[in-house]
Symmetry: C2
Subunit: 403 residues, 2 copies
Amino acid sequence: MPSLPGFRDFYPADCALRNTVFAAWRSTAQRYGFVEYDGPPLEELELYTKKSGEEIVGQLYHFVDKGERAVAMRSEMTPTLARMVAAQHRDYKKPIKWFSIPQVFRYERMQRGRLREHYQFNCDLIGEASLEADVELIALCIDTLRAFGLNEKDFVIRLSDRQFWVDFLKSKQVPEEKWYEVFQAIDKSERQPREKTTELLGALAEEVLNILEHGAASERLDIVENGLKARGLGDYVKRDFTVVRGLAYYTGVVFEAFDRSGEFRAIAGGGRYDNLLNNLGGVDLPALGFGMGDVVLTELLKQKGLLKPSTASIQAFVVIPDEAFRAEAAGVLQTLREAGIAADMPLSPAKMGKQFQSAEERGATHAIVVDAEIKNGKVAVKTLADRKQDVVELASLVAVLRS
Amino acid sequence: MPSLPGFRDFYPADCALRNTVFAAWRSTAQRYGFVEYDGPPLEELELYTKKSGEEIVGQLYHFVDKGERAVAMRSEMTPTLARMVAAQHRDYKKPIKWFSIPQVFRYERMQRGRLREHYQFNCDLIGEASLEADVELIALCIDTLRAFGLNEKDFVIRLSDRQFWVDFLKSKQVPEEKWYEVFQAIDKSERQPREKTTELLGALAEEVLNILEHGAASERLDIVENGLKARGLGDYVKRDFTVVRGLAYYTGVVFEAFDRSGEFRAIAGGGRYDNLLNNLGGVDLPALGFGMGDVVLTELLKQKGLLKPSTASIQAFVVIPDEAFRAEAAGVLQTLREAGIAADMPLSPAKMGKQFQSAEERGATHAIVVDAEIKNGKVAVKTLADRKQDVVELASLVAVLRS
């Protein structure tokens, strides 16, 4: 019986890679003064429909629980964040800088290799209207990718201004219910023939295409770009008005991270959503955030050779040449582990050669041989790389292994 | 709208405590040479009924997905482990030493404070029949609790021998379908009046009660106890034949960890289950494991004062006395963060006093004041504990903060 289609098993090598990604996410967010939160992977269905409308239900893992509640496995973190912030925002100084690494679930029609779950690094900054907050959030997105060894040749942040487009549509008297269609046409303009985009945009086509090709003035983007330059991160961004982020709730600067080669889907995306917390939780706080999934990122890092599996599970292996000294060997093992050294020993009798082989297979750097010399307080320490052997006092064993 | 009943929100302070627990679990398992794996939080329903029978369905979060599959949110890790091991055990040297920290879900009838999810540290050792494996696993359970600062006065491992009881019941010709009832009576004997236990045990009562009170010979327990003594962990265990672990699949030594005061439910429990992998996955490998939940453990650690929330989210706060130097301040901030120092600055203009207050509220040890001196390559570093201030060269700022 395999796992469900679209769900991953994490065998140790894959789990180690996953944890490497998590660790870099976590440490970068913490360097930026963001603190971690988490919420339940199961929520009331209404939390999601309230944000995204009834259409979202078709993509959710939802059911009625034994208490007759309509519930859904979380498909994104923002609704949970809005719920939590609404409940306790008075207890927290602004700006609130929070991150989370939830696993999220969507029932997508299965395509080859398409997953129904992934982990998503979510960073949100709440209660700060200044564009310095946008700079801070985009810098965090950039430095998160840099933490993996990626540089400005590997990826770029496409920067855009959703508010610019809103102002543009208002100036053209386009009714609000038509905006989504226009945003869709702009979003797809890169991947569609020009005639198709022209057709979709109708009377707006000429002017919109001109902006997409030649850009437009945006004081907001000037400020954000200058802020990133002050941090030495100017080379990581370029303006791109085709980025609108389909979701209706963005209100200001928006951005997406892409690999420069254009091989992969977006690595991350986000922006400002100043009205969303109010709509979802009734709390009027400006906010912005981004999400970065583990799947595209991991593919990119593997392609660049920046994510290498570690095969070592221990540092030291205690070798027992004679079962008569098993109890003493167990004592040595315990000493190593209590000193914080990852160590192991054979759990059943085995030939010396087999034991040394185990040590090497497990990635140990040292084998500790416990034989009759233990009665004199001594063990033999063999360096597995060069097969050199030293006899050392038990009292200095930990120091020898640490050096 | 709150979270669903029985599901926890982890606001930053709680999330930090949770992560402290995870970190200690992870590092102890790694010291023992265990490697981490993980599986999906959603599995086929059949995976659980195969192990626990149809009765388990009443306790599961289960539903039919959009692909007409009967699925369930994982209620325990062992079925996933069995599935994963069955699929790939040939690729791994034995013994397999794996751990995981899954969140698991049960629809329990709500009682005050009773949760419907928790995190469970699962450690399993597969492919080793020797009792040394039992010693290794129990030692890991003990050292995991010691890693939190708990000692032999705080908790005890109650050690028992399920195989002893099986042999006993066989010698009394008790039919196998009656065993579960007897195990239940033994399990409850501590909490029930003696007459009740006597009644439940019938003809076996006198002999069983005698064993419960005075113990019995068990070579298996002798070996395990001696093995733990060799590791200096003898004081952490005591024999207790009332421990049988209700679950039908245990086959050898079983154990449960309790706080010595007897205030809490079991902290951890496990044992040998040599037939389970064969029954579930068709792979005949001896195995043993234990589980430790986060809820009881966290309550105990809080009561003992061993789990203290950290309120510091940054080490350094960059103070901007004059907005004219914001760009330079951002450059200093970036330098600190790139050196791995958690640092922050105000995102909008604020008075000096307010900025220093933010620095203190965030737990910073140092405030870095960036003013006109930055033109000479200098910043002021204020130690917040004693309010001492030094002017330092920008080039040595990181070194100063690290010292």
